[in-house]
Every structure is written in structure tokens, then in C-alpha cells.
């Protein structure tokens, strides 16, 4: 029963979701005035997420609490993490929430700049990854290097100055547009079709109970 009930529930919910996508009267079924069945079922997911939030909180407290208790390396950062975690939660829950100036200031002055900083680091990582990827080791990497060179030149004004868009083949910009619109789009769509079919097969495996790893364990 420990396995059969979740498997049956998975099959039923997958079937129900499929029917909601397909059957119009079911999708628009109202259980009472203005309350759709679909939105009510979807709400159960929100409820589960709220429960999950507490699990995350417990896990973080346990992991970092152990680090502090055993004085592991960098334990002081765990203290700081717990202060920020609970401090910000208490500030939001008991001191005005979204209306609180302090709550919003912390978000705007700390979280947003940190987010932007981390995102901007991508530029440096792209440079280091490109350095490795563009090393010419075989025919494929040579091809990739040449194509990347053309696309980069097609995107900057220097490329336009060397070979303008008014000239033969539309210059670097024209070739870049062709590369992106034809070979790139074709391969992207081919991968897209593969992803769709793979995802559908994966859903079927779970719905039919062939794949049971989400129940825990390593057996199929």
C-alpha cells in the first residue's frame, strides 16, 4: 500500500491534468459562483509549497545549527545566515511587512545590488568559458570559432565598419542574421522537438508507474 496509493494518485492526477487541458467543459467547470474547479485544485499546490517553506527553514536551521555547534570551518557565516534569515522574517511578519520602510530598504539596498552583482559576473565567466571553447582542437571547434567570430562582429559597430551591411551579402550583420535565422533556428527547433518527445515519454513513464524514483529509493 505504501507504493500502490502514491502510484494510483499519480496516475489519476496526470490523467486529470491531461483532461483539463483537453476537455473544455471540465476546464471551465464552476463548483460555485465564480470558483473554478481547476483553480481550486491548483490551490492545493500553493498549500504544499507553504508546507515546503517550513521544511526548507528547518533544514537550513539544522544544517547551520550543526555547523555552529561543532565549530566547523567558517561557522561564523552560519551565525550570520541564521541572524539574517530569522531577522528578516521577523521584520516582515511583525513589523509592517511590505509597508515597512526598513523591510523595503533591505530589499532595495542589499538584495537587488547583490542580485545585479552576481548576474554581472556572467560577463567574466563567459570570457573564461569562451577562451576554453574557442581553442581550435578539431574541425568542429574551428567551425564554432569562425561562426562565433562572425556573429560577434555582426553585433558590434566595428564589424559594420569593416564590412558594412550595405555591401555584398549584407556584411557581417547580414551573415549573422542568416546564421541565426536559418541554421541556428533549424537546430534549435530540432532540439525542441526532441525535448518535447523526451518530456512526453518521461511523463508517460511516471504516469504508468514505470518510473518510481520519486517515491524514494533507487529501484525502478
Amino acid at each position: 500500500m505504501k507504493r500502490e496509493v502514491p502510484l494510483a494518485l499519480t496516475f489519476l492526477m496526470t490523467l486529470l491534468r491531461f483532461l483539463f487541458e483537453m476537455i473544455n467543459p471540465l476546464l471551465n467547470y464552476e463548483i460555485s459562483e465564480g470558483v473554478m474547479l481547476f483553480s481550486r485544485i491548483s490551490f492545493s499546490v500553493t498549500f504544499m509549497y507553504c508546507m515546503g517553506l517550513f521544511m526548507g527553514l528547518i533544514n537550513l536551521t539544522r544544517v547551520h545549527g550543526n555547523t555552529i555547534k561543532r565549530r566547523r570551518e567558517h561557522w561564523i557565516y552560519s551565525v550570520w545566515l541564521l541572524i539574517v534569515l530569522y531577522g528578516y522574517a521577523i521584520l516582515g511578519l511583525f513589523f509592517g511587512g511590505l509597508e515597512s520602510e526598513a523591510f523595503n530598504w533591505i530589499y532595495d539596498a542589499v538584495i537587488v545590488p547583490l542580485d545585479s552583482t552576481m548576474f554581472s559576473m556572467l560577463a567574466f565567466f563567459i570570457a573564461s568559458a569562451a577562451y576554453r571553447a574557442f581553442k581550435i582542437r578539431n574541425v568542429e571547434s574551428l567551425l564554432m570559432m569562425v561562426v562565433a567570430f562572425i556573429v560577434m562582429l555582426g553585433n558590434v559597430s566595428l564589424g559594420n565598419a569593416i564590412w558594412g551591411s550595405e555591401s555584398w551579402l549584407g556584411g557581417f550583420s547580414g551573415i549573422k542574421d542568416w546564421l541565426l535565422a536559418i541554421p541556428n533556428a533549424a537546430s534549435q527547433r530540432a532540439i525542441g522537438i526532441g525535448v518535447f518527445l523526451g518530456a512526453y515519454a518521461a511523463i508517460l513513464r511516471v504516469a504508468l508507474g514505470l518510473e518510481k524514483r520519486y517515491l524514494g529509493g533507487t529501484d525502478w
Binding site: 521544511m55 537550513l60 556572467l122 568559458a129 515519454a201 518510473e211
Partner: protein, 272 residues
């Protein structure tokens, strides 16, 4: 009680949602489900089913865990987008179970980082079970299954920092990723980890190809999840996936020829 407005709407074949490709999608779903059923039945009866091609990235998992064992360093596995109801998460669990089983049998430490609270509990259970099955329940450390943040760059900072501190010898980036993909892969490359990526996120594929030793592209990610089982019954679903893909290629060619000849018959059928 049915909504009167809906009854008046222009539904397809009386009951179906009036969106593009509803009926075509229905036929595709039924067709592929039948194909999966047939292949599974053939596999169960011991009848031959077509072979699926070898995926080099899959073999790299064992190689990478072996290397980590030799070096005495941990193995790290993560997926950013981990919605419990998402098929990418289901595929991720197959890889997690495989890696956890390898780590448990080699007595190698496994670290799993998470951005989702619900999935984290499933991940913890999968890893715990792997250690139990390997006869080493004491070796399982629940502190190594870590929740980072559900905020994208908070998670990224946490994982990149963990990689820099713990220096895993193998870094597995499996699942759906967004802009954090390159940061995680580069963090792994900086500590010299052998890296295997598997994703269906086409926008992140170039970054993984540039930074990782092995990359499983698109449907390889899902097929690999099934192929790990080594069970003919599961293989059946991958074979049906391949057959449907061949049908799609044929349809693409016929559609291109028909469109060139000025007929939109196939496009209209698929859009119905």
C-alpha cells in the same frame, strides 16, 4: 453546473478546448501512448526491440565518481529548477539515484544542493535509501543535502561558494537551468572538477558545452534517465520516443514539400 458562456463558445468536436493543435495533440498523445505500450509488451515478452544509441555522457557518471573516490574528494549534484510536478525534476531523480548509488557503493561523499524545499526532501530520501541499500546507513550525512535559496542568484552564490570551499572532484549539473548555468559550470571548472551536464534548456546548452567535459543535449537528458535503469521495459519508452521522432522528421519533410508546392494541408492538420 456548466458555465453557459463556455457552452456557447466555439469548442472543437463538441467538447475539446478551442486552442491550436488540441486535436492533433490528442492523436499524438494517444499514438505515442500506444507505441509505448506495444514496446513495453514486446520487452516483457522477450521479443526484440530496437537498440537505442549509446550516450557518452551517461558513462561519464561512473568515471567521474570513480575519479572523486580516488582523489578522496566529494561529488556534487544539483538542479536549479526543481518543481516537484515537473518532468525535468523526475528525470533528475533518476540521475540522483544513480549517482547516490555509485557514491554509496564507493563510500564517496555526495553533496546535493537545492533551490526547492519539497524536492529537497525527496532528494534526501533517495540518497538515504541508496546508502541503506549499500549497507552503509551511517555514512549518510543529512547535512550534505542542502537547501540554498529559492532566489536564483542566492542559490547560485551558495552553490558557487560551496564548490570553492568543498572542491568536489565531480560536478553534475542535471536538470533545468537558467542564467546561473554558466556560473555553476565555471565554478566547477575552476576547482578542476570533472563536469557532466544534462539539460533540456536549449538556451543554456552553449554554456555547458563550453564549460563541461560532457553535455547531454535535450532529449538525451530524458532518454539517459530511462537508460540508466538498464531494464528493457523502461527502454521501451525510449524506443517509442525515437520512433516518434523519425515520424516527426518525415512529417517535417512532407510539410516542407507540400508548403513549397503551395499546400498548407499538413500545417492545417497539425494546427487543428
Amino acid at each position: 453546473m456548466l458555465n453557459q458562456l463556455v457552452l456557447a463558445a466555439d469548442v472543437k468536436w463538441g467538447i475539446f478546448v478551442p486552442d491550436d493543435s488540441t486535436i492533433a495533440g490528442l492523436f499524438l498523445a494517444i499514438g505515442m501512448a500506444l507505441l509505448v505500450y506495444v514496446m513495453i509488451q514486446r520487452a516483457r515478452a522477450g521479443l526484440p526491440i530496437p537498440e537505442i544509441r549509446r550516450i557518452p555522457g551517461l558513462e561519464a557518471f561512473e568515471e567521474a565518481v570513480g575519479r572523486a573516490t580516488e582523489m578522496g574528494r566529494p561529488v556534487h549534484i544539483t538542479s536549479y529548477y526543481q518543481d516537484v510536478g515537473d518532468y525535468d525534476t523526475w528525470a533528475f531523480w533518476a540521475y540522483l539515484a544513480h549517482v547516490a548509488k555509485l557514491c554509496a557503493s564507493y563510500d564517496t561523499r555526495i553533496i546535493n544542493t537545492n533551490s526547492e524545499w519539497l524536492s529537497m526532501t525527496v532528494n534526501e530520501e533517495i540518497i538515504r535509501q541508496a546508502y541503506l541499500e549499500a549497507g552503509r546507513p551511517d555514512a549518510f550525512n543529512p547535512d550534505d543535502v542542502r537547501f540554498m535559496s529559492d532566489w536564483q542568484f542566492g542559490y547560485t552564490m551558495g552553490v558557487a561558494g560551496m564548490i570553492a570551499r568543498e572542491k568536489p572532484a565531480a560536478n553534475f549539473l542535471v536538470g533545468y537551468f537558467y542564467a546561473e548555468a554558466l556560473i555553476l559550470a565555471e565554478a566547477g571548472a575552476l576547482v578542476g572538477a570533472i563536469q557532466v551536464a544534462a539539460t533540456s534548456a536549449t538556451a543554456q546548452l552553449p554554456f555547458f558545452v563550453a564549460s563541461c567535459d560532457y553535455t547531454m543535449i535535450g532529449e538525451e537528458f530524458y532518454a539517459g534517465a530511462a537508460a540508466l535503469s538498464k531494464e528493457p521495459v523502461i527502454y521501451g519508452s525510449v524506443v517509442s520516443q525515437d520512433i516518434t521522432r523519425v515520424v516527426f522528421v518525415i512529417l517535417c519533410i512532407i510539410g516542407a514539400l507540400l508548403n513549397t508546392a503551395g499546400s498548407s494541408l499538413l500545417v492545417d492538420m497539425l494546427k487543428f
